[in-house]
């Protein structure tokens, strides 16, 4: 496809680009590292605790970022509505939580949470597939910007659905996660809540990897991502594969929705937009279309956000979080548009 056709040109452009910009980028990274190191030596244990908070943020971002990356890998479309699917996931989580009446100290809390997560994943998966069917599929052959614009429209519609459904005020999710420390190593307190976030995220990621790399359906996804026409000729049902990808992406958003509600215990209909953009940045940072890249990018962004909000020495503070995240996005696109691990169209490479 066009990627092959224009291969030689960008490479030449890349080699001709003045190295000054590259040096500037290196200088920025060096500055960041110096800032981190100084902060680390000022208060090592706080630093590590903040890193753990960042890791927990990163887990939520990773689940959303994977949705962006999966869809981008297969359709080369930035699914702008993805953040709002995640928001609906949180709303489903709250709804199911109240219908199961979960509360702290409940006997069968964990199985119920797993059931809630699966339900939220199913709902979001179905919603995402429906969105693809209604808003993106008719525009497969339209100019590239057309589906992007519909994606924005869908994002606004979903946000409005969230608003109508749950109202404009923030809604609280029962604080069922134990708040005390799980253990303390070298003066670092490791809280149960963060630990549980890691414990929930990890199997989801493993299942996703297994799905994409080991199953027949995953093979079909990779084939469609590489070349839709050829995949069709080989007998792969392209439309169904794309629907399946949206289903997985939506399910991941649903899991992220529950995790977010569980960990932050407060949700609002506007959260999808902001977290969606952060997650998209994470996907680009890691190299869009690249599954491990999305996870790496999400953890980096989560850590940077936590450092920005938590560190004491010359940290800009939470007022500037969005600006910092978007600056990272812009800098990455300027200095290394293919992301840290390189952009890959075939899923999982």
């Amino acid at each position: 496809m066009a990627a092959e056709a224009s291969t030689s040109l960008p490479t030449r452009l890349a080699s001709r680009r003045p190295s000054l910009i590259g040096l500037l980028g290196l200088a920025l990274v060096a500055l960041l590292i110096v800032w981190l190191v100084v902060n680390f030596f000022k208060e090592p244990s706080t630093f590590v605790e903040i890193l753990l908070i960042g890791l927990a943020n990163g887990c939520v971002y990773a689940l959303i970022a994977l949705g962006y990356t999966l869809v981008y890998g297969i359709l080369e479309l930035i699914n702008f509505a993805h953040g709002d699917v995640f928001m609906l996931g949180s709303m489903f989580a709250v709804t199911f939580a109240s219908s199961f009446a979960i509360h702290t100290g409940q006997a069968a809390l964990w199985p119920i949470l797993v059931v809630i997560m699966l339900l939220a994943m199913i709902c979001c998966g179905v919603i995402n597939t429906t969105i693809e069917f209604i808003a993106y599929r008719p525009l497969r052959s339209a100019p590239r910007l057309a589906p992007l614009i519909t994606a924005i429209g869908v994002s606004f519609i979903l946000e409005d659905i969230g608003l109508t459904w749950k109202g404009p005020a923030p809604i609280s999710f029962p604080a069922v996660l134990p708040q005390h420390d799980a253990f303390v190593i070298w003066g670092v307190n490791v809280g149960w809540d963060k630990l549980i976030v890691y414990i929930i995220t990890l199997p989801v990621l493993l299942v996703l990897l297994w799905l994409v790399q080991r199953t027949k359906q995953g093979k079909a996804m990779r084939a469609v991502a590489q070349d839709k026409d050829a995949a069709g000729i080989m007998g792969i049902n392209v439309n169904r594969t794309i629907s399946f990808t949206f289903l997985i992406a939506g399910a991941l958003a649903g899991a992220a929705g529950l995790l977010y509600a569980l960990y932050f215990t407060s949700i609002q209909y506007t959260q999808g937009f902001q977290l969606g953009l952060i997650a998209f940045t994470a996907a680009v940072l890691g190299g869009i279309g690249n599954l491990p890249g999305a996870v790496l990018g999400a953890i980096l962004i989560g850590a940077i956000q936590a450092f920005n909000e938590g560190l004491s020495w010359h940290a800009p503070g939470s007022d500037w979080t969005e600006s910092i995240v978007f600056s990272i996005l812009i800098l990455i696109l300027v200095f290394r548009p293919a992301g840290l691990l390189g952009e890959q169209t075939p899923e999982g490479g």
């Binding site: 496809m1 066009a2 990627a3 056709a5 224009s6 291969t7 040109l9 960008p10 490479t11 452009l13 890349a14 080369e76 479309l77 930035i78 808003a135 008719p138 525009l139 052959s141 339209a142 100019p143 590239r144 910007l145 057309a146 992007l148 614009i149 519909t150 924005i152 429209g153 869908v154 994002s155 606004f156 519609i157 946000e159 409005d160 659905i161 608003l163 109508t164 937009f273 953009l277 998209f280 680009v284 007022d319 500037w320 969005e322 600006s323 978007f326 600056s327 996005l329 812009i330 696109l333 300027v334 290394r336 548009p337 293919a338 390189g342 952009e343 169209t345």
Partner: protein, 501 residues
């Protein structure tokens, strides 16, 4: 010999020229709708709309619109409007070719200029409510200007810009900085009039310098944003512009303490701003035609209408709009504009033809930004304040929605789409909600909807439906319609795949 009147009529009807037949039958239709209107307002309105729909198939592009407007106007002033409709029709069929294309815009402009005079006499639109007052008119014109500016980026050059609100903010803050007491430790006065007291601290520069200055600053801002990002392919560009659209308002929000320096006064905003005006000297020299100060002006009555402060703002906005539209049209037809369209259609072919991609795109970005800045600067002066809360991402999508609704690339379509949506946003939605809540009752069920609360959901639906069913917009340019339906080769020339790996 008995004359068969019917036969004679049919004969002369057949003998008529096609155009005359058109005029007569349209006259009959207008008459019928007016008659129906006297029976029942909504019925006549519906008939007129129906006739307009029938007629738009048979008339050339711009005339349809004029006709529809004339038909709608017919209900405010039935007799004069009928005369005007006939004049328009006559012009449509008989005026020399070279003047025809300016007739409708000119007529619309005249109607707009006269709007403050007849606004209070207009009828109430069914469902939507009353016609906008003059203050809302200023709001509408400002948004039309922004939509026309965004149309340069999105419609002409095919670059999706989701951060247009950043340019709006830049323009607004330019006025706010240089025409208020924000920087009270400086005292620079240049041509500002009507300040009370006259030696007030702060930077005070006349708005007539600030508007172009805001445009230029915003264009520079656009170039700075554009240079690193325009290399990217379209969808990345969209996200990066969105990022800038989020960063700039955040800077405005947190700008009350940038290393101890109060740049933007944070969430409290900057207010009040200096009122526009021409000063006593110019005012007396023109015999009071140019008002000395927009807020304290206007003691006179013209044609039975006491001129208000808002009217003057409205006319000034119209002047700016005319300049914007003129520039936009001339840009489109210039060498640069043709280069933009070439890039939109096929980047690779355009580059092969020797069009410098980066420079051309940057110019598109800068020109679009310029008008956003001008509109923002003027709107800030009109509201006399600037708050960071005015510059949400939603506004960017709102303006994009205007461009899509009207028809990307077609200035006239964009103007109408923008004016309609701006009106809808300000009044129409609330009125529609009220109408629905009072008129709908299904089996005892009455809705209680606050339609205005769902404005962005409604814009989302508009965007979605337009892109799915009529991607070229309501009033498309022929070229865009062809692109949308036949598809274009819009594979990006610069692709990041394999770069840097």
């Amino acid at each position: 010999m008995a004359v068969d009147l019917g036969e004679r009529f049919r004969g002369s009807w057949r003998g008529m020229a096609e155009r005359d037949r058109a005029i007569v039958s349209l006259g009959i239709q207008v008459g019928v709708s007016i008659l129906l209107w006297f029976v029942d307002g909504a019925l006549g309105y519906g008939a007129a709309f129906l006739f307009a729909l029938i007629w738009r198939r048979r008339l050339q592009d711009p005339w349809r619109l004029a006709l529809e407007l004339a038909l709608i106007a017919a209900f405010a002033y039935p007799v004069p409007a009928l005369a005007i409709a006939m004049v328009i029709l006559f012009a449509a069929f008989r005026a020399p070719q070279r003047y025809r294309r300016w007739l409708v815009p000119g007529g619309a402009l005249l109607a707009a200029i006269a709007y403050p005079f007849f606004q209070t006499h207009l009828f109430t639109i069914p469902i939507l409510g009353a016609f906008p007052d003059v203050g809302t008119g200023v709001y509408m014109i400002v948004f039309v200007m922004m939509a026309v500016g965004l149309n340069i980026v999105v419609g002409y050059a095919g670059l999706l810009d989701l951060g247009y609100v950043a340019f709006y903010a830049t323009g607004a803050y330019t006025t706010a900085w240089f025409a208020s007491e924000q920087f009270a430790h400086r005292s620079i006065h240049f041509g500002a009039v009507g300040l009370i007291p006259a030696n007030i601290p702060g930077i005070h520069i006349t708005i007539w310098l600030l508007i172009p200055l805001a445009g230029i600053l915003t264009a520079l801002c656009g170039i700075i944003i554009g240079l690193p990002t325009l290399r990217l392919r379209g969808d990345y560009l969209a996200i990066v512009t969105l990022g800038f659209g989020e960063i700039l308002p955040q800077i405005a929000r947190n700008g009350d303490n940038l290393g101890g320096f109060n740049l933007t006064n944070g969430p409290n905003g900057i207010l009040p701003l200096d009122p526009p005006g021409f000063g006593n000297h110019l005012s007396s020299w023109t015999g009071g035609f140019l008002p000395a100060n927009y807020i304290t002006c206007c003691k006179r009555t013209l044609l039975g209408h006491a001129i208000q402060s808002n009217d003057v703002y409205f006319w000034t906005a119209l002047v700016l709009l005319v300049i914007t539209v003129f520039c936009s049209l001339r840009l489109r037809d210039s060498r640069l504009g043709r280069a933009w369209i070439a890039i939109r259609e096929d980047e690779t072919a355009a580059a092969a033809m020797g069009i410098p991609l980066m420079r051309t795109k940057t110019w598109a970005y800068a020109s679009g930004a310029f008008f956003g800045g001008v509109a923002g600067a003027y709107y800030a002066a009109f509201k006399s304040n600037t708050f960071p809360g005015d510059f949400f991402f939603n506004i960017s999508v709102f303006i994009l929605c205007m461009v899509i609704l009207g028809g990307m690339g077609n200035v006239w379509g964009v103007i109408i789409g923008a004016a309609f949506l701006a009106y809808l946003n300000q009044f129409g939605l609330g009125n529609t909600g009220a109408w629905l809540n009072t008129h709908i009752h299904l089996f005892g069920w009455r809705p209680n909807i606050d339609v205005a609360e769902h404005q962005f959901g409604i814009y989302g639906v508009i965007i979605l439906v337009m892109m799915l069913f009529r991607p070229e917009g309501l009033m498309p340019s022929r070229r865009i319609a062809a692109e949308m339906h036949e598809g274009v080769r819009d594979e990006p020339l610069y692709d990041v795949v394999n770069e840097g790996t």
